[in-house]
């Protein structure tokens, strides 16, 4: 519902000058989203699908971001996140996805292990593994198929002014945009968050994550395995076909050395950690590395501004929950904005934004703390700690209610859920 009121305009008769370069009228929207990634795009699709005019700005060329060279990573989409993507009409555009049927958590070489079987929670997998480029492609198709959402890319927000009654923005290619609220989905170094003066709390680990894809001889049967090695967690996540995505952590210096190994030697290092239960393996595609760090914004909101995804929080990849946490922001923010619009309220109003912060900030902080704690607990080879956590894992495995709770958290179905996360429409 962009403003219906016309601004007073000069009458045609009062413009005797020949037409100069026409000044385009500002683009009017309800919501401006800065950042068209894995958070900004689904938010735009969700809002527009429910009837809000939405403009998304992204710096990257849409043709480039769906290339494997731009982002070769794979994301674990939790059950609830998949339900949300299905409810907003994105999931049916996802070309291929590998269901996760089992999660096994193994502590080093210990005989004790925790086993999550999807049948414990009824039908449906625990989640899906989707290549980021496949997900980006699906999101672009959903944007194209949804009226009222426009992706302007490549275009950067050169200037964003958050006034008392609305937001006005100018892109680097000179377009003017008016909206009631601006959402920062512009990543962990969010320029919008910086401009709003919202501090972040962050800490780094002396570890780095390595990510690569392997092909193996035998099928993985949809089993995801998380092995806690002394250096840090080593995750094997099933992909379509006889492929798996590996995410593992090493001390930063070792990870750097690992990145420079010739392919044959790198393969040996991978095989040593992965094991031979799926037969011979081969590394396919490039390897990636990034330093492990956690960050959390002190506030998720400012005047007519909401932070979502990595702009609000970023985490250790240990639990594979970063994107899912961001999609929970998307589900909550979309619901709060759409509900406010259905009441005819100003969707950039302080009360509306506060509802979003109340709903999301505690959840994110809890997950960050748990993830940090898990990493500290498991990146440790001291004997008593090992024994305690071995017993702990085995004990969790024998206590169905506790295990059920953990599994629900892995699926993202715990707590009071926004409608989208239960698969309902907005």
């Amino acid at each position: 519902m962009p403003d219906a009121t016309a601004k007073p305009e000069a009458s045609p008769s009062s413009s005797p000058l020949p037409a100069l370069a026409p000044v385009p009228a500002p683009l009017a929207a309800d919501v401006l989203i800065v950042g068209g990634g894995l958070i900004g795009l689904p938010l735009g699709v969700a809002l527009a699908g429910a009837g809000l005019e939405t403009i998304i700005l992204d710096r990257e060329d849409p043709a480039r971001v769906v290339d494997a060279a731009f982002d070769g990573r794979v994301s674990a989409i939790a059950f609830a996140s998949q339900a949300a993507l299905a409810a907003i009409g994105v999931w049916h555009h996802v070309a291929e996805a590998q269901p996760i049927l089992d999660i096994r958590v193994v502590d080093g070489t210990s005989p004790f292990f925790l086993h999550y079987d999807h049948r414990t929670l009824g039908s449906g997998p625990l989640g899906w593994m989707v290549e980021n480029r496949v997900l980006r492609q699906a999101l672009q198709q959903a944007v194209a198929a949804t009226p009222r959402v426009r992706l302007l890319a490549p275009a950067a927000a050169a200037h964003v002014e958050r006034g008392p009654h609305g937001v006005s923005a100018r892109t680097d290619d000179g377009r003017e945009i008016r909206a009631a609220i601006v959402v920062a989905a512009d990543g962990r170094f969010s320029p919008l968050r910086e401009a709003a003066g919202i501090p972040t709390l962050s800490w780094r680990y002396a570890q780095a994550g390595i990510v690569c894809t392997i092909a193996h001889e035998r099928p993985h049967q949809g089993v995801a395995t998380e092995r806690f090695l002394p250096a840090g967690p080593f995750a094997m996540l099933p992909m379509t076909g006889n492929r798996s995505s590996l995410v593992w952590t090493e001390p930063a210096a070792l990870a750097a050395a690992m990145m420079t190994l010739p392919p044959a030697e790198f393969r040996v290092e991978v095989a040593r950690r992965f094991g031979d239960h799926l037969g011979a393996l081969e590394v396919v595609g490039p390897r990636w590395t990034y330093p492990l760090a956690l960050h959390h914004a002190e506030r998720y909101i400012a005047h007519r501004l909401a932070l979502a995804g990595d702009a609000a929080h970023g985490m250790h990849p240990i639990a594979g929950q970063g994107l899912n946490l961001g999609l929970r922001d998307v589900a909550a923010l979309a619901e709060i904005l759409v509900d406010a619009a259905r009441l005819g309220l100003d969707i950039g109003d302080e009360g509306v934004l506060e509802a979003y912060q109340r709903r999301r900030r505690f959840d994110a902080m809890l997950l960050l703390a748990v993830t940090d704690g898990l990493n500290r607990l498991f990146s440790n080879d001291v004997a008593p700690v090992r024994l305690v956590r071995d017993l702990g894992l085995a004990a969790v495995n024998r206590m169905p209610p506790l295990k059920r709770l953990f599994m629900q958290h892995a699926r993202g179905t715990l707590g009071a859920l926004p409608r989208l996360l239960t698969g309902q429409p907005l």
């Binding site: 403003d3 008392p164 009441l343 005819g344």
Partner: protein, 273 residues
Amino acid sequence: MPAQATPQPDPTGAATPEPREASANTIDPAEVARFDAMAEDWWNPNGPFRPLHQLNPLRIAYIRDQIAARLGTAGTGGGGERMRPLKGLRLLDVGCGGGLICEPMARLGASVVGIDAAARNIAAAARHAQAMGLAIDYRHQPVETLATGSERFDVILALEILEHVADGEAFLAACASLLVPGGLLVAATLNRTARSFAYAIVGAEYLLRWLPRGTHDWRRFIRPHELARSLRGAGLTLETLDGAHYDPLAGRWSLSRDLGVNYMAIATRPAGA
């Protein structure tokens, strides 16, 4: 709640369909400064009108759903029109204050006229609507003089005003005459019970200091059967009465069958009348 000052005789009131012009012609800098302060107050969610801001989502949803159910405007149009369910309706808000209800109604698609007996409320409301880019027709005018004209409305809102007017029956009669046949009146007021005395006077005005002391006179609160009788007297048909219940811990309002404190009434003008 202070949505409306007591109506007062105002010789200029009836003849100012364009309140912005009226105020622009008699600019008093001190007054303008006060309007600004007032506008800030009305629209500040943490200011003196905080209770109204908290109550608003419930009231708006109630009004929207009652209109949809009784005037058949639900689910018309697809896509973006879903956000404008009141499109095509003419709506009058009597005692509109700073426009906290007028603006949502306009965004939902209604063509809105807001009247208030306090000139500074109208000025504050008009300034805010213009800043938000909303076309709302605000007028400094009592309902009685509006009723002498030929304008008619599909929906009339009389929220937290009955307990402030001098003659409730005359007020409702004026409202009734402004409705089209089949049109809808939504009234919200406070019941005259021991509990409403405890909540609205002792609690809201004295203990919590939500409202300035003296905002409400408990003796003028209206019992549901008194309201029903007045509505009948005005030729309207009472359709339903619903209570609004406040949960102080959650800071949230919900609909309730309990009419003991805040309650709302829906009445219609018979189609043949």
